[in-house]
């Protein structure tokens, strides 16, 4: 089974436009998605897609506190574990 990081990277690659990133270039996990130029529409859809992928209900106020993919991975792993 893929790790949380691999599954999250796949979701990001398919659903978020990171400004200036060449296709196939991996994102850095400590990059704030807001600073990477991700729009709020993409972020909100991404929130929903993460909930579906990991079969978890992440409240909006919790998701809003998670600034980077690294924070999100830590949250998902803590919740699963």
């Amino acid at each position: 089974m893929s790790s949380t990081e691999e599954r999250l990277r796949a979701l990001i690659d398919a659903n978020l436009e990171i400004e200036g990133r060449a296709s196939g270039q991996p994102i850095s996990l400590d990059l704030s998605l807001a600073d990477a130029g991700v729009s709020s529409t993409d972020l909100v859809a991404f929130w929903q897609l993460v909930c579906e992928e990991f079969s978890m209900d992440i409240p909006a106020e919790v998701f809003a506190e998670l600034a980077t993919p690294g924070d999100l991975i830590a949250h998902l792993d803590a919740d699963a574990g």
Binding site: E19, A36, S39, S40, T41, A45, L49, A64
Partner: protein, 245 residues
């Protein structure tokens, strides 16, 4: 909509008066690439703002931030009769900035939004305000967004719309909900599917009065200020009575 602005609100190199109502002035900021304007804008920023600008990895988001923040600085210096060096910003828990002059918090309400080539700045000298702008292009996961941010009734209206009307209606609702949550200062931390935009505004009325279900005593005037190029909305505190939706 009344498009006259209070006299204190001046045009600048890359911003100009856009709308005014209920004691709120709204300015449009031109975010098209322009090396000279970007250079002039950079000079207005303080060291912390320059550091933040440099954190944006790539051009578009950095340009939006620099052009909007410098325009905001110029407008607030005029409105608060202060020098640029006296003006600072601090963000609330969820990121909403407030202005400080000489270290004291100002009660002057303002809010900023940027999307693509369009920025909007709303100024509310006596109130609390939120603004949101989105270019009229289709977000990547429109159906996911419709399911996530709209109430069941709003979702039904949007899904019943045909062709381009579906996107137009969705973006109108999205910017109105974002303007309200930004006015409240909660940003993305609020699940906006839990409240409904006044029904008349869903059908095309440009203004309405709104109350959040959990804060019924505080009323907000909501304005759809969108154009053919962008969807946009402004929400500001009002004494008016809440519309029955």
């Amino acid at each position: 909509m009344n498009v006259a602005c209070p006299p204190a609100v001046q045009s600048g190199g890359w911003w100009q008066p856009f709308a005014a109502f209920d004691g709120v002035a709204v300015l449009h900021v031109d975010l098209a690439p322009d090396a000279l304007n970007e250079q002039r804008a950079w000079a207005w920023l303080d060291p912390a703002e320059r550091q933040r600008a440099d954190q944006f990895r790539h051009g578009g988001a950095k340009r939006q931030y620099v052009l909007c923040r410098s325009a905001l600085r110029s407008l607030l210096c005029d409105a608060l009769s202060c020098r640029n060096e006296q003006l600072a910003f601090r963000a609330s828990k969820h990121g909403k900035p407030s202005a400080f002059v000489g270290g004291s918090k100002s009660a002057f309400g303002f809010n900023v939004s940027h999307g693509g080539r369009h920025g909007l700045i709303a100024l509310a000298p006596d109130g609390t305000v939120g603004v949101d702008v989105e270019e009229r292009s289709a977000p990547r996961n429109l159906d996911v967004l419709v399911d996530t941010v709209l109430s069941p009734g709003e979702r039904a209206e949007v899904m019943a719309a045909a062709g381009d009307e579906k996107l137009r209606l969705f973006l109108n609702l999205w910017t109105m909900k974002e303007a309200l949550s930004k006015a409240r200062g909660v940003g993305m931390s609020m699940d906006v599917s839990g409240f409904e935009i006044p029904h008349g505004m869903l059908r095309g009325t440009r203004g309405g009065v709104f109350c959040f279900p959990d804060v019924p005593d505080l009323t907000w005037a909501l304005h759809n200020v969108g154009t053919d190029d962008f969807a946009a909305a402004v929400a500001c505190t009002t004494q008016a009575v809440c519309d029955a939706s």
